[in-house]
Amino acid sequence: MDEHDRAEQRLSRERLLKLAAAAGGAGLLGGRIGTAQAALDWLNAESGRLQVLDWAGYGNDGGQPMFAQYVKTHPNNKPQFTYMTNEADALAKIHAGLKPDLFRPYVGWVKYFATSGLVQPWDPKQIPNFKQLNPFMVKAGQYKGKQYGIPDDWGFDAILYRSDKVHPKARSWGLLFDERYKGRIAWFDDPVENLTIAGLYLGFKNPWNQTDAQLKRSQKLLISKKHLVRMIWSSETEMDNAFASGDIWIALAWPNDWVQMRKKKLKVVYMHPKEKPIAWVGMFMLLKGTPRPHLAHAYVNAWSSKRSAKWLEDNYGYGHANTHARPSSSDLLRALQLTNPKAVTLPNAYLDRDVPRRAVYAKLWEEVKAS
């Protein structure tokens, strides 16, 4: 703990004593004023910096405008960031003893974390901007009626291709497996995504919960087509650079990649395959037993505001769950279908979901990469 943290803690204790006295008075008065004051006291009693486990780019490394309102109102409890590279990394960090107040897995992990005993539900009443959030995404953040995930950034997984070089035979995920474009295709490095896409392509009823036989077929398809793949990307920037330089012509990509390539004057199409794209949504989750639950709610409220949402859309090219926000770019508006609140659900897209046998999927995907 550094000097700054200690000073903050001292300040909080002093303030806590004053507020405790004030709360005693409010208790005597009773009624709504007293309750509100008690809530304020509780908020002020939470001391130290808010611990946030988040993806790179969402912290002090560029994401400040998205939580600027929080910093303004809580100057003594500024967020302190630890970065996660994926949900598994977040899980490992938490198991290893990291105690973030909140973190951000994606929608497919909501059930996993909700049942893990590591997180607690949010209280939407403490998030005034909550009512502006997309109801379909809000529902996806629930487990057994409780709000475990607060939706924020979102996008699609679909196919980006160079229309001057590539001529798809069909509007299908099959373009990622097209022999004509050997050495020009990029897949995304995700333990579930590729097997799910293979399952969609092969016409399985529930690609997120494939049987052993189905998984074997999906894995076989991926292994047999891997020789066509130039890169399996995990960094969006790396994939964008490779696409822009012409190293790859076809990629599993996000809407922002299409916008970026259009800015570079490339002839590109962002194709939603007939088997349907997959929609992903980032979900803030609250760690169980966190000593700063109210600060965490205030932080998420700042992130959920219309202003933060617009900034995210304009600067990062991702969608935001706040339905009131609109990006400046009409291209992005179109790619994300922001005028359609149902864009992330059927019949338009599959919203990513829980994978009961995630470990099996991950093992099979690792074997695909190793093959």
């Binding site: 598994a88 490992a92 333990p191 690792e366």
Partner: protein
């Protein structure tokens, strides 16, 4: 009194010396040994424990099991990947030893006054970061990189058909690894050649040996420990390498080291299998080091 001190019996003197040594040795060796135990042996033991599932950060039932080892040893996928990495590392190591030897030979034996300046130039890339040196190759090898731009300019390739296999390929991994490790190879060979007793070469010449014979019978055997050390310097780290393949290797340049990192870090944590792969790699490298260590003894000059 003074006399008795002077005439201490030899046995007592020896004992005192032994006592002194007894305190000095642990003092000198204690810290490095403790460092080695805490930061090298203990982590390896923990990783080994992960591989048998007797220890894990993840909650849930855990107990000794050989399942991960059984699956690994019966998995053609992982063993094939390991063999792919071995072949790539062997090729890279052999090629750069062959390239570095003449370079080190020239620097050590040519008698040039500028050899230390040349040596400095050789190791100059080390003044920049490893990551930067790898990333620089992306600028050189990409579709719109320096090589392809030159080919377009000369008309050898059209911009519509660049040499696309330069980047994101196994070739790219080998090229970049070779570039990165070349100075590591040249230095041990240079040191072994420079410490060569020149009188042996004069003697060989006096005895009628040609320059080639002197090289084959004298210089090469005596520099062999340096060559073997250089080879190991490259082979061992490149066998577990994951940074270069992940930056320039693409799907076809994916190596065993990448698999270990991915099993620990991406997807769904599978530390058990990741640990098995890591311990297996450590075992193989350890065994190879023991085998090669005997070649690190000074070579002998054969006389017919």
């Amino acid at each position: 009194m003074a006399l008795s001190e002077v005439h201490d019996p030899p046995a007592r003197l020896g004992r005192r010396r032994w006592l002194r040594l007894d305190l000095t040795t642990p003092t000198l060796l204690g810290l490095p040994l403790a460092w080695l135990v805490v930061f090298f042996l203990a982590p390896i033991a923990i990783v080994a424990a992960y591989s048998f599932d007797v220890y894990s950060l993840n909650p849930g039932p855990h107990g000794f099991t050989l399942t991960a080892w059984h699956d690994f040893l019966h998995s053609s996928v992982y063993l094939r990947l390991f063999w792919k990495s071995v072949k790539l590392s062997l090729t890279v190591s052999a090629i750069i030893v062959l390239l570095a030897y003449p370079l080190a030979y020239y620097l050590a034996l040519s008698g040039t006054k500028r050899k230390y300046i040349l040596l400095l130039l050789l190791i100059a890339p080390f003044l920049t970061s490893y990551l930067l040196r790898v990333l620089a190759w992306k600028v050189i090898l990409g579709n719109q990189g320096a090589v392809n731009t030159f080919l377009f300019w000369t008309g050898l390739r059209s911009p519509d058909h660049p040499l696309s296999q330069l980047l994101y390929s196994r070739f790219a991994v080998m090229l970049v690894l070779g570039y990165i490790w070349l100075p590591f190879v040249a230095l041990p060979i240079f040191v072994s050649l420079e410490s060569l007793d020149r009188r042996l070469l004069e003697a060989a010449s006096d005895l009628g040996a040609s320059r080639l014979q002197a090289f084959r019978r004298v210089t090469l055997p005596l520099s062999l420990p340096g060559v073997v050390a250089a080879f190991l310097f490259v082979f061992i780290p490149t066998l577990g390498e994951f940074v270069t393949p992940s930056l320039v290797g693409g799907a076809s340049g994916y190596l065993y080291g990448n698999q270990i990192v991915d099993l620990f870090g991406t997807g769904f944590p599978d530390w058990e299998t990741g640990s098995v792969l890591a311990i297996f790699l450590l075992g193989v490298v350890g065994a190879l080091t023991i085998v090669f260590a005997r070649f690190l003894q000074p070579g002998e000059v054969t006389v017919d």
